[in-house]
Symmetry: C2
Subunit: 153 residues, 2 copies
């Protein structure tokens, strides 16, 4: 699950040329992390993208397609098709909402509910792997720097 944007801003030959640009470095870290996550999720036949949706619903951060789109910056058309796929897999369910007939509520099926913890565990495995050797302070500092970048947006 790797696009040129993942490796964006030039990833010189892996670990040959030193990363000179923070932007490059961030992109490169992201691609590595995501590839690792995809590999970790492969046994479940779930893509990162699908996990995102399932997790967002599982965590109660969204209960409709529109909510999902807002929450994770996703195209509504793409989301329709994404939900189709997850429904076909039997992990997610669309429910009519009586008080607003434009919207359909989303909820995990029993199967989806059963699967999700395994997906979340896979994510934790990947995260822990990449953070090997980081102290709690370093993780906090890292988060702080990333959040400051976001705030600068």
């Amino acid at each position: 699950m790797t696009s040129i944007f993942d490796s964006a801003l030039l990833n010189p030959a892996p670990s040959v040329v030193p990363q000179r640009s923070l932007l490059r470095l961030i992109s490169r870290v992201r691609i590595e992390v995501m590839d690792a996550l995809d590999a970790e999720l492969a046994p479940f036949e779930i893509s990162s993208a699908q996990m995102i949706v399932l997790a967002t619903v599982a965590n109660g951060e969204a209960d409709s397609a529109a909510g999902l789109c807002k929450g994770i910056s996703y195209d509504p058309g793409a989301m329709t098709r994404m939900i189709d796929r997850l429904e076909q897999k039997g992990l997610l369910r669309r429910l009519p909402r009586p008080d607003d007939r434009r919207t359909t509520n989303l909820e995990l099926t029993e199967e989806g509910t059963a699967l999700y913890p395994k997906l979340a565990a896979a994510k934790e495995v990947v995260q822990a792997r990449f953070l090997r050797g980081f102290s709690a302070d370093e993780v906090r500092m890292f988060e702080g720097l990333l959040n400051r970048m976001l705030a600068n947006r």
Copy 2:
């Protein structure tokens, strides 16, 4: 130029829910940075992906399609078409290489050479914007943490 993978690992409603996961945070930072870069490059009608290729060639980090693919983790088929596009735009040129007829050398055209500094400047603008308020030490530390993540891969 934003995919769900960009926002991967759940980006809760922007700046509403605190980012709890480093993975999320990295993905979110990347998407913001890339969106900003795309916006900055828009006047030149160049995508981030195209800039990556141009920059890699301009910096002498690759001079063939295969070199580009290795350097930035890109699919050969996609690269063929990418180069097609850049050639159509008159920014890049394919040249036969006498000593290896499998390969075609790549080089920027005059137009490409003229354009590239503007693209590089756009990237600097974006990077500087996101690093506002960072001390040199902080940038170094940030790079260090990212590189340690890569080393943990």
